[in-house]
């Protein structure tokens, strides 16, 4: 199986779906002539032309609204945000228009569209451009929220997202674009709403999504050397969440650590911990612990930024605490 980057996996998904269905089109800042700020849309303008690969002005709210309108009249737009930090300006269209259109029109206007772009911190992009928005977006009924952590899942989920008749929020990662993994050449889909047990162990469950799946896998590797084996649950879809996979794992390991990029308060981990306490109360040997960004705007200084981010060491500490081990 070919090993390709997360970036190329997304590119393949876009290309294949645009080939498959001519109602699918891509719009966003620098997606065309510049071939994408992160080169995700490389070659698409050449293949599909400027009617289907549309460079927009720097007007997030405007082109998100154009996307909603296009979806209302039967197209299947993919709206790329150069980063989700810029998408804040477009949230009215995402939250108030796209998420609610089907509901408020009494089922007359489905919203078969995708909002996608990098989410979370990269390196030294400072307070305004280092934010993870999944808990905001997952809060909204009407949106599906996906956060793949591997090239395989990125391609399979993006294809599912494009084919879905509901508005899908697709969260990528600047630090993920260069990561590599096996991706089959043949057509495949990863179902929305299905988590995956990425690693099987018996002592503790780590639940994560997106970029933090890589952290969880490293934690599992390191702890394996100490004889501690970890169930790594990759949510892949944050909403609708695959609670069954989480619960099955926690019932087996009796303890859980939830790792996410964003802040603690009302974070995705809070929701996961809530499902666990409800469904696994009698199976828990320790409180569910969470690893997350420090409760501050992301610092710019390199050392402090590192200290503020969730990482392997913090996650190992949390695992050892739920296992009642010295750490």
């Amino acid at each position: 199986m070919p090993v390709i980057t997360y970036r190329d996996a997304l590119n393949q998904a876009l290309r294949e779906e645009m080939q498959r269905d001519d109602r699918v089109f891509l719009m966003g800042e620098e997606v065309g002539v510049y071939q994408g700020a992160y080169k995700v849309s490389k070659g698409l303008l050449q293949e599909f032309g400027e009617m289907r690969v549309v460079d927009t002005p720097i007007t997030e709210l405007g082109f998100a609204g154009v996307g909603v309108g296009a979806a209302m009249v039967g197209l299947r737009p993919i709206v790329e945000f150069m980063t989700w930090n810029f998408a804040l300006l477009a949230l009215d269209q995402v939250v108030n228009a796209a998420a609610k259109m089907l509901y408020m029109s009494g089922g007359q206007y489905p919203m078969p569209m995708v909002f996608r772009g990098p989410n979370g911190a990269a390196l030294q992009l400072s307070a305004q451009h280092s934010q993870a928005w999944e808990s905001w977006l997952a809060h909204i009924p009407g949106l599906k929220v996906l956060a793949p952590g591997t090239p395989y899942d990125a391609k399979g989920l993006l294809k599912s997202a494009i084919r879905d008749d509901n508005p899908v929020v697709f969260l990528e990662g600047e630090m993920l674009y260069n990561t590599k993994g096996e991706v089959p050449e043949e057509d495949y889909l990863v179902p929305i709403g299905k988590a995956e047990l990425k690693r099987e162990g018996e002592h503790c469950t780590i639940v994560s999504h997106g970029k933090m799946v890589l952290v969880a896998m490293q934690v599992a590797d390191q702890l394996a050397k100490e004889g501690i084996t970890i169930d790594v649950v990759d949510l892949r879809t944050i909403r609708p969440m695959d609670v069954d996979t989480v619960v099955t794992s926690v019932r087996k390991t009796n303890r859980a650590v939830v790792v996410e990029e964003g802040w603690e308060f009302c974070g995705v981990g809070a929701q996961v911990a809530d499902y666990i306490q409800r469904e696994c109360f009698d199976d828990l040997d320790a409180p569910v612990l969470r690893v997350h960004q420090a409760d501050v705007p992301m610092p710019y200084a390199k050392a402090i930024e590192k200290a503020a981010k969730p990482d392997v060491r913090k996650t190992i500490d949390a695992v050892k605490r739920v296992m009642y081990l010295e750490s």
Binding site: D282, L284, D285, Y324
Partner: protein, 497 residues
């Protein structure tokens, strides 16, 4: 923050208590742990202590009044703290406990707090910084809920009152508050977190430090294995019992159960008892016999012991000096303890789905008191010398009559002895105190004509009757126990063997 004084469950079976005497007056400064009142429980007169520091602001129960466990009988608070809502709650509790003994009417009227006529949407659960800083309300203001400054645009008073008691406030008070105080009354004191306005009383178990901290999983595993968490040491934070502790304890238990099967009596340290699952025949016996005779299918075994040697021993010891004097009861208790250690199947509890056979002998001793009966316990009686048993029995009996026994002194018996010999009762049957499965009724020692070696002679004799729970003890089991007991009592020297 105000602290409730409630009628606490001072014994495991207590459902209500009679307030005998207040030890503090309203307005007295009290410290946490300081006795507030004497309360008569179903077993003894005990003290209720303060669960917080402050001033005893209100005494809601009158002396002589009976209140159910959990009922509010007083409030401890700061000198200027608003305890209106709490007092209102107490009034309700009093009402439900039956009117005859209820507190003075004036107190009740003052206690009623006022329900806002229209709750504000802004108020629920959100602490208002302004509200906390304003002047402390005076005593009479303190009884009334007032306008929340957060909700000045609303027409009613603001705080969403979670206290159902205040729903019962009189209409008169409501009218007064709505008309006279709206908009300018002193804001009500509120807890900073928007939680309940008073310190929650810790549960009975937590107060006694009885409830071991444990993870939900540990509790589930313990219950599946039929283990008692009290006997497990927790290795988690703050002694929390976690999965590995249960597993370790289960391993230890299995090991000691294996060892205990061969040894007779108290062997391993953790093996205070052994649970024996019910065999099908035991289950059938239990089921059939209950159908026949009440929930405890009791049968009785009576035996008459010769007390010649026991009496000799008593007088011989008495001659050595007062400090060596022992009673017949002491001799019986010692003999019973030894006999039980040899017949643990009689030293057992019926637990419904299993029989718990104890390897330690905790001997209950029925003591008559003016109000009825209580059974203080001589713990580990089989390991105690007769003199120790004698001293302890006397001491416990005295404290029982003075009603000074602590709950832990009259719970936990594995077997009970009831002696009415001193009342000249020849023989009687005693009623089993569940979950114990037997009780020994001891009659008086009397001279009787008996045939010894073909001749009628006068001998000192004593009759005992063992009441047995047939679900646990069969006729022959009880008989063997009495056989051993006879040998010990008729030949007291056997007790030192």
């Amino acid at each position: 923050m105000a602290t409730k004084v409630v009628m606490e469950a001072l014994s495991p079976t207590m459902e209500e208590g009679r307030l005998v005497k207040w030890l503090k007056n309203e307005g007295d400064q009290v410290k946490s742990g300081e006795p507030l009142a004497e309360v008569e429980t179903d077993k003894a007169v005990m003290e209720i202590v303060a669960r917080g520091d402050g001033i005893l602001r209100k005494r809601l129960a009158a002396e002589g009044q009976t209140a159910p466990v959990g009922a509010l009988i007083g409030v401890i608070g700061g000198s200027d703290e608003d305890i209106g809502a709490l007092v209102g709650e107490g009034t309700k509790a009093e009402g439900s406990s039956g009117g005859a003994n209820a507190g003075p009417p004036a107190q009740q009227a003052a206690a009623a707090s006022v329900k806002p006529s229209k709750p504000s949407r802004a108020a629920e659960g959100i602490p208002s910084p302004q509200a906390e800083k304003t002047d402390p309300p005076s005593e009479d203001q303190a009884e009334v809920d007032v306008v929340d400054p957060d909700a000045s645009g609303e027409s009613g008073t603001a705080d969403v009152d979670r206290d159902p008691a205040s729903d019962q406030a009189s209409g008169e008070d409501t009218a007064q508050a709505a008309g006279g105080r709206m908009g300018n009354a002193a804001p009500r004191h509120r807890p900073p977190s928007g939680a309940q306005p008073a310190t929650e009383q810790p549960s009975h178990a937590e107060r006694d430090g009885e409830r071991p901290k444990s993870s939900p999983l540990a509790r589930r595993l313990a219950s599946e294995k039929g283990m008692d968490l009290q006997n497990v040491r927790g290795s988690g934070p703050a002694g929390r019992i976690i999965k590995r502790d249960i597993e370790a304890a289960a391993t230890a238990q299995a090991a000691s159960a294996g060892a205990g099967a061969v040894s007779n009596g108290p062997s391993a340290e953790h093996a205070d008892f052994e649970d024996i699952p019910l065999s099908p025949i035991r289950k059938t016996i239990a089921k059939r016999l209950i159908q026949s005779i009440g929930p405890i299918p009791t049968f009785y075994l009576t035996a008459e012991f010769d007390m010649a040697r026991a009496s000799e021993m008593r007088s011989a010891m008495g001659e050595m000096g007062d400090e060596f004097k022992v009673s017949v009861n002491d001799i019986v208790m010692k003999a019973v303890a030894i006999a039980l250690s040899r017949h643990p199947e009689v030293n057992a509890h019926w637990l419904g789905d299993r029989i718990r056979v104890f390897n330690r002998v905790h001997l209950g001793m029925a003591v008559a008191i003016p109000e009825g009966l209580i059974t203080p316990v001589i713990f580990d009686a089989d390991g105690k010398r007769m003199s120790q048993i004698s001293v302890e029995a006397r001491e416990l009996a005295k404290r029982a009559r003075d009603r000074k026994l602590k709950p832990e002194e009259y719970t936990g018996a594995t077997f009970t002895v009831s002696n009415l010999g001193m009342f000249g009762i020849d023989q009687f049957t005693a009623i089993i105190n569940p979950p114990e499965s037997a009780i020994l009724a001891v009659g008086s020692v009397e001279e009787k004509p008996v045939v010894v070696g073909g001749e009628v002679v006068a001998r000192k004799r004593m009759r005992v009757t063992l009441s047995c729970d047939h679900r646990v003890i069969d006729g022959a089991t009880g008989a063997k126990f009495l056989q051993t007991l006879r040998r010990l009592i008729e030949n007291p020297l056997m007790m030192v063997y």
